[in-house]
Assembly symmetry: D3
Homo-oligomer: 313 residues x 6
Amino acid sequence: MFHHVKDLQFNARVSRPDPKFANLLLEQFGGENGELAAAMQYFTQAYGAKLPHPDKYDMLMDIATEEFSHLEIVGATIQMLLKGVNGELKDAADQSEIMQVMNGKAAKENIIHEALANPQFLALSGGGPRLTNSQGIPWCASYIHSNGDLTVDLRSNLASESRAKLVYEYLMQFTDDPYVKDTLSFLMTREVAHYSMFKAALDTIEPNFPPGVLQADPRFTQQYFNMSPAESVRGPWNEGTMPETGKEWIYVEDPIAHVKETEGLTAKEKGMDEKLAETEKLNKQMSELKSEEVNSAQPEGVAQWSDYSSAEK
Amino acid sequence: MFHHVKDLQFNARVSRPDPKFANLLLEQFGGENGELAAAMQYFTQAYGAKLPHPDKYDMLMDIATEEFSHLEIVGATIQMLLKGVNGELKDAADQSEIMQVMNGKAAKENIIHEALANPQFLALSGGGPRLTNSQGIPWCASYIHSNGDLTVDLRSNLASESRAKLVYEYLMQFTDDPYVKDTLSFLMTREVAHYSMFKAALDTIEPNFPPGVLQADPRFTQQYFNMSPAESVRGPWNEGTMPETGKEWIYVEDPIAHVKETEGLTAKEKGMDEKLAETEKLNKQMSELKSEEVNSAQPEGVAQWSDYSSAEK
Amino acid sequence: MFHHVKDLQFNARVSRPDPKFANLLLEQFGGENGELAAAMQYFTQAYGAKLPHPDKYDMLMDIATEEFSHLEIVGATIQMLLKGVNGELKDAADQSEIMQVMNGKAAKENIIHEALANPQFLALSGGGPRLTNSQGIPWCASYIHSNGDLTVDLRSNLASESRAKLVYEYLMQFTDDPYVKDTLSFLMTREVAHYSMFKAALDTIEPNFPPGVLQADPRFTQQYFNMSPAESVRGPWNEGTMPETGKEWIYVEDPIAHVKETEGLTAKEKGMDEKLAETEKLNKQMSELKSEEVNSAQPEGVAQWSDYSSAEK
Amino acid sequence: MFHHVKDLQFNARVSRPDPKFANLLLEQFGGENGELAAAMQYFTQAYGAKLPHPDKYDMLMDIATEEFSHLEIVGATIQMLLKGVNGELKDAADQSEIMQVMNGKAAKENIIHEALANPQFLALSGGGPRLTNSQGIPWCASYIHSNGDLTVDLRSNLASESRAKLVYEYLMQFTDDPYVKDTLSFLMTREVAHYSMFKAALDTIEPNFPPGVLQADPRFTQQYFNMSPAESVRGPWNEGTMPETGKEWIYVEDPIAHVKETEGLTAKEKGMDEKLAETEKLNKQMSELKSEEVNSAQPEGVAQWSDYSSAEK
Amino acid sequence: MFHHVKDLQFNARVSRPDPKFANLLLEQFGGENGELAAAMQYFTQAYGAKLPHPDKYDMLMDIATEEFSHLEIVGATIQMLLKGVNGELKDAADQSEIMQVMNGKAAKENIIHEALANPQFLALSGGGPRLTNSQGIPWCASYIHSNGDLTVDLRSNLASESRAKLVYEYLMQFTDDPYVKDTLSFLMTREVAHYSMFKAALDTIEPNFPPGVLQADPRFTQQYFNMSPAESVRGPWNEGTMPETGKEWIYVEDPIAHVKETEGLTAKEKGMDEKLAETEKLNKQMSELKSEEVNSAQPEGVAQWSDYSSAEK
Amino acid sequence: MFHHVKDLQFNARVSRPDPKFANLLLEQFGGENGELAAAMQYFTQAYGAKLPHPDKYDMLMDIATEEFSHLEIVGATIQMLLKGVNGELKDAADQSEIMQVMNGKAAKENIIHEALANPQFLALSGGGPRLTNSQGIPWCASYIHSNGDLTVDLRSNLASESRAKLVYEYLMQFTDDPYVKDTLSFLMTREVAHYSMFKAALDTIEPNFPPGVLQADPRFTQQYFNMSPAESVRGPWNEGTMPETGKEWIYVEDPIAHVKETEGLTAKEKGMDEKLAETEKLNKQMSELKSEEVNSAQPEGVAQWSDYSSAEK
């Protein structure tokens, strides 16, 4: 159950209207790396975590709720950056000022002129935030990743927080309003803080590599295929030791020849049967462990989500 | 600022898994008339209302927050209807049961079999709700309507609540689980309650017709064009008095001939100049009134969204 | 069966090219509240109405056909506003003029320069209307609402007409071409006229509240949940009498506490059994009535859409 | 201006409900190769053709209007194939029959059971056609091609008609209702007829190759790059004479070596300067011709779309 | 199996940054007629052709691979046109230069100023190409046509190449950088060359009209419906002989009357039974022929895609 | 420049047709976590890396090219799983077998019956792979993440590979064909291998936290907001030391009260000025370093992508 407090989590302020920046800022309202995307990603991930991992459920709902609160801050900032547009549009019978702008005669700082950077501020939203990105694409749930496995979901979140942080960093370069910069600095920093939370949570799950349940197939794990051969560079990603497994990289210098020789990689390597058997055994152990984790947490009979016994503080 | 309470607003329960119904129910999670659509519609409408219409702002945020809380209930119900799918998928090394289902040998009530109605429950979400409709289309912000004018926005909400109510009514016919029916009855009824709230709020704005600021042009208001002529029916929508204005309908029986005769409706009618002048006068009055409403509420200088002085209760 | 007359319903004229306004006007060609959206909404609604409600079918097809005719007017206006762009693009070997524009040396009124506001006028459509909104998003059928129930569909139409009217009102402020303004005034006013038609039609259906067939559940109809508590406002939407039902609003001041106390609203209220029984009885009556309306209109055996006996006038 | 006649262009009939086929048939209602896509493609192409090519404008509007009339036929057929669904949904209080279906106890031919193939027939449209394809994707204007040049647009139409014909051919295999087959045979055949019309129209434009205005660059016209080298096949598309120009194909057997040798194809060939000069000359001639075609047709001063003088017959 | 060579197929060069043109050029990177659309269209068509038509498979993969190589060229050009944007964004702590631009004080040629034409160059991609069109719409697979029938697919390709050629022609008018023009001239010309290849390939399939397997229904093939009657034009598309079949056009001057008279075109014409029987016979022959073509090419038992025996040269 | 070898990288084989699994497998062909998404993500990221980070460019193009090669393997598998569908559809005049299936009389293993799980295999693609996910949604470039900064892009890739691995793991449970399982095991394992490559590459960039250029704001880095307060859990993500920075978490137990007390977090903390100054200094250093990295790599004057001097091996 949600609850709303009219005060913003951070004291968003704006020195003066700036519709051009309002348009850029839409990236964080209705864009692919914006606050709604973050909120809905953690919110949908939380459902699967609730029974088997109540600690992660608590964390995901805490952060999802904070992201909703950030969505509100971004929207409020956009609304304040568009001050004047709404009132001007309501003055529907007197278009003298607007037409001066359309004809290029307006003073440079005229907000209607700048609002044309996003025609839908004028023709659709009446000077408020729309749930789109900076080019008018409506927010879409394909932006979010929620796959029912915490070793994957938490990694999706590390990436999402990284992108959101970078977008704020880019955006901060396009305003010199100190109040707006302060709000963006707060929002950018919270993405870094959330990154650290998700990383800490991932570290509590052992083992968490490879993500999911099954092991990598030992026949295909170590090869690096040199598919763009000229000016090839060797580095830790294709020579020496693999970071997660400690195995050696095998560098396939001429993949076309190699594929032909091995009849599409199906030629049997010596000693592989044993490794495969070992992998299969590990797969069975992990499967039992992981499915038991989920199944044992689910009650028999009627399912009920809440128990209404908890005290809030 | 949002805040989350782990208890659901309504005590959602589920007697037994039913993935087929879970799929239908996605319409209210990530569908065009679902709870997220309602929540985001009222949430974005609230921004423009905050300063000039704080009473409507309060109502919009109250109902938006309730809709978020309903979104959570719908998602929890879907998660419970999919009990078993997640655990089965985690048992990745033992696929005996799943393949029996794929080969059609499974018992009829097998949940994996039924989950195939939505392949993404199996291949993407790990048995949890995805933010899509019942055919897998990701939720999209073009579902929401927020146009910066309460006489329009509140009417959009009346329509949205009507559609949401109807979809619950349709859905209730596809489950016979008494707990699920009870939850749906709660959710359906709240849409009716919200309809009444928005209607009451619209009635407090006077005049609210036509929606927006400008009057209808008296030259084109009263005609009904009979564009699909055979088996034409006359009714209150094309004969007698118009409901909102008290004027008489003018029935254009043969629109093609009428358009040619009037050179595309541009032939001047007698007495129209006076009516046009009157309309223009009304337009100016309404424009001043409505733009003043907005402008006078906006502070000079630095804008600040919250004042942090309010006590919550 | 449709039929096309080359004359426009309204005599659309344009004083001079204006690609910037052509781009804004796309909102009414391929935008979410535009003429195609209206036409396709009423056209698809008409299918379900044909047999049980031939009077509403006639009205819906009349108005759908008028909206198609308006779509044509909007497209013609955009085409005329882009005069010169197409010819300039065909002069593919001589780019002297265009490059002056790209380098910022062109005269202010240069139409190629202004057409850059929508790059696809230049790179895709060859200077004609594309079926997108003002930000290039292709028209999408998720804009339309058609739900197989006239008490809902007609309400969707009231909202659609309200939004379309408002968008024309916004747009009229961005042109001072008297011919274009006249066309927009015609189109805006027809939305108001259609609103009145749909309202009159809805009023002929009794009862039409709640929309659909089922009654509201008496346990959950009257509560107003105060989900955004500080600075709460009381008004006709949460105190006094509900407009549609005459019942009293119940104001839930502290929803979190209330939900806990009632174990998720499941605690039984006194006297509710009787009200529930009454509701169920009403539901059965309405169900029989409404399903009979549809079923009795459908012929046994082979279905045939048209009978070819009607004379057109 | 459009006009609607209630009789269908073709006498669509249906022997018995078949929701599964109704779902497949949506491909031609709201699918990428369906009737709305065709109608909107020719309708938007017609705008640019109106002044310089009134004969093609007449043809495009004739066929666009026929495609709208086909859209109506397809929708009517879907509605008739869903007979019973709407009435069943209105009987909202009595779900005995529906739940038998959901529990798998229904007779095989039960239409509700079959309607589950498209959940939105049940949960959204109330048993009518929705403007989507057979997998529920809403129709989208990115399906249509309209590029302001008849030598291109008419070729787009040849392809569109070919695809639409093939889809009808596929669909006809999935119904054995003789009435439905007859309707599909009519619709499929009209696509072939339209193909012939567009082909005949393209042939009246001389020259029409290459499409557009500019000639091909003689440096890069004749090479065939053998980019997938093994088991390469030689045929009229890479040896002998090019069909449109009569020039010889140049077969680049080893593109990687060739690109390196020519420093990315920039090495100068002997005799090329002359050919380039000739091309440039042709480009200028065609540019003048084609731009004059458009420009000379456009009136000076106020533009007006219709003149209201034409008699319809 | 693909393989990458770091050298571009054509030596793409850029004289100076030009973000405005970079934005236009996105049409050919991530637009509906761009290089990715072409590459993926031929690539997906190739699957169905591999066994029954290995010659066309070779051609489709050759051209698909060339289009991927063109995609790389377009992207490289956009990246070079945006030189400086990425470095400027990395200088995150020093925004002096950027803010001068935002406040309109920057020199005209400032690339940051011009990059604002596409806000996502600044806020999302860090100054590189995004897989969108010039208005920011992400590339979408509904742009491609692949229908499992070469007589249709090759026609789709003729249309696609025509549109791609035209878009390059439009784009070439908006740059005067001789290096960029040279690259565009190369790319435009290759679309013409591919057109000729696909045309030559289509001509090797006999018969290829009508596209697909089934013949046109002789009852409905020859009529031209005059659906937009005034100012009607007669031409080879509605009088005289049909180009593909040699039959006579039948001009239906008054379609509404004709439909009524024939009861929706169902009135039987004399001599039609014989023609229908003949059509049916042809259909059977073609069906056997075409299905045999596919079926005989497919191996019994285990299917294997490659045989690894081919030498590359 | 790309190059195609007809042999697949892995020897994909299929024991028998299985259209139901073909449909599920579409997730990896045209789905959000599929092979095209991976290929296009790394391909677009590579542009920005080419000059300043040629080692990462080489790696990104190697892996992108391998993912294209995997896309081909997945498509080939789907095509083989649909054996028979294409031939059956070509036998257009003989529908006896298909209609038996439609009427439920077909043998259980009938492939046409199973292909109905994806109607577009029958009505659109002629039995081949379409570039959609398992619910028919066309692939969309909003699935890919490419943000012009390697510390972010490589993290996006870690998440993408994790999701792709998990989806293969889910899919492997729905086939018991040993050849298909072998192919999936290969593809799944390569995602793990790529994960290790990207991780190794990220580790070579120092520092890489926070992602991007700017430091976190010390005022807002350490707080954990307890936004979903009841049943709160403490763990390494909200108590003790932050993993990346070594600072202490600050647990805000009652965020509403805290926000009010600090007037929206703006109350100044002691000692913060110094920390802020330090952060600013670090920001300047990193900005110079990172922008210099990019700028110094870009040549003056004409830009040229390739130099054609490299030998391939």
